[in-house]
Amino acid sequence: MSVQQNHQDGVTVEVRGLRKHFGRHEVLRGIDFAINPGEIFVIMGPSGSGKSVLLKHIVGLERPDEGDILLSGESIQAPEVLGKYRVAFVFQSGALLNSLTVGENVGLYLTEHRLKPPEEIARIVTEKLEVVGLKGTERKMPNELSGGMKKRVAIARALVIEPQLILYDEPTSELDPLSAVVIGEEILNLKERIHVTSLVVSHDRDLAFGVADRIAVIHEGRIVAIGTPEEVKRRPEPIIQRFLNADFKTNNSSRL
């Protein structure tokens, strides 16, 4: 997240043998995958399978017990590597600062790092909010927004960084289907416009198969399948099929 604001190419991400314990519980059990520049890579899996913990490792919020993560070939454990690449994280909750207005939240990165004069920051904030369909909300407080709007503000805040890699943690959770579609379209638009590398963690099958170039399925801290959406759909493993085809079935017999 350095000052090079005009460089737009996505980065490669390589995760090698990542392991993480919390106490006795091993959350990640040797994760390996690689993401190409500009690719939308979706990691699917049931709740508690280690998806969010994996994302936190990639952005440096957690340190692995074993293994490594490389951005464009450089280990993020080396000092300043994370600062060298512009990495944005869209949190599941949005994680907007509740004491700041929407505009201040979106412009926070530029304001705190003093990258632009205030008038320029205001212009960029308006532009990014327009991109996510929230023009005119600059003065609102986060608690005045719906869940979907908060997530779109969080995306706008991520866009201000002009990221080379965006990590989305459950971007459509708690959203109605229409808002989920808007978020999915946003992820695709960003790929088209700025060629950003996107890593999406989700258990939303519609989102995953709608936006992904490739999908990985994670289960109990291990990647059990990886490939294009069609390849993953065809995988015969019961755990993958159960997850991809899980559906609510009305128990008619008990009603009669």
Binding site: M1, G60, F91, A95, L97, Y109, E112
Partner: protein
Amino acid sequence: MFQNIGEMVLLFWRTLLALPLTWRQRQKVFDQFFEIGNASLLMVCVLSFFIGGVLALQTGPVLVENGLASTVGGLVGISMAKELAPVMMAILIAGRVGSAMTAEIGSMQVYQEIDALRTMNISPVHYLVLPRLIAIAVALPMLVMFAILVGWLGGALVSFANERIYIPIEVFFANLRDMVELDDVANGVFKSFCFALIIGVVSCHQGLVTIGGPRGIGRSVTKAVVNSIVLIVIFDYILTNILMVFNS
């Protein structure tokens, strides 16, 4: 416990290293400063006025009966300046301002706002801790100076109004001037500066290490207030000893 102390010392050290960034964070410092003043000024007035008054009421009649009326002003003056105002105001601020700091930072921690700051390469120490620590380190000594004056006034009014004491206000202050030296006030203000650092560091640290949901925030707030008060009392003893050596 030792881990907590180590973390707090480290947090304090990191905040000291960030001091050159104070000017950049000046707006947040001013915001915090006014919030502390706004939240505490009335309570400081009421508390210190009655502490001074009660001190005069408890000691005045006995001293007057023993022919020591001229010492009432000095006793109230020195007690307020050196001990009561700094300690009582620090405890008040720990409860009123320290708890609010912990609750706010703890809530930001629980709801991932601090993680969001980190992902934007914004240090929580620079953004959250530094402005709060500077604001409280400036505000508490100022509040204590104010409390000393109000406490003296409370002592003077009670000494005048109580018929068993009845010392005219100008006599009370003349006696006070004879016994209280500038060093006594300076000692109290210096102590309050140290207490402010304790409250700031303990409260911010507890906020940053908050885990869990609302219950976790509540637990952190309680710990911050209790730990601050315990440390204030312990450091009061240590600082008093050190200052006695310097003043002798």
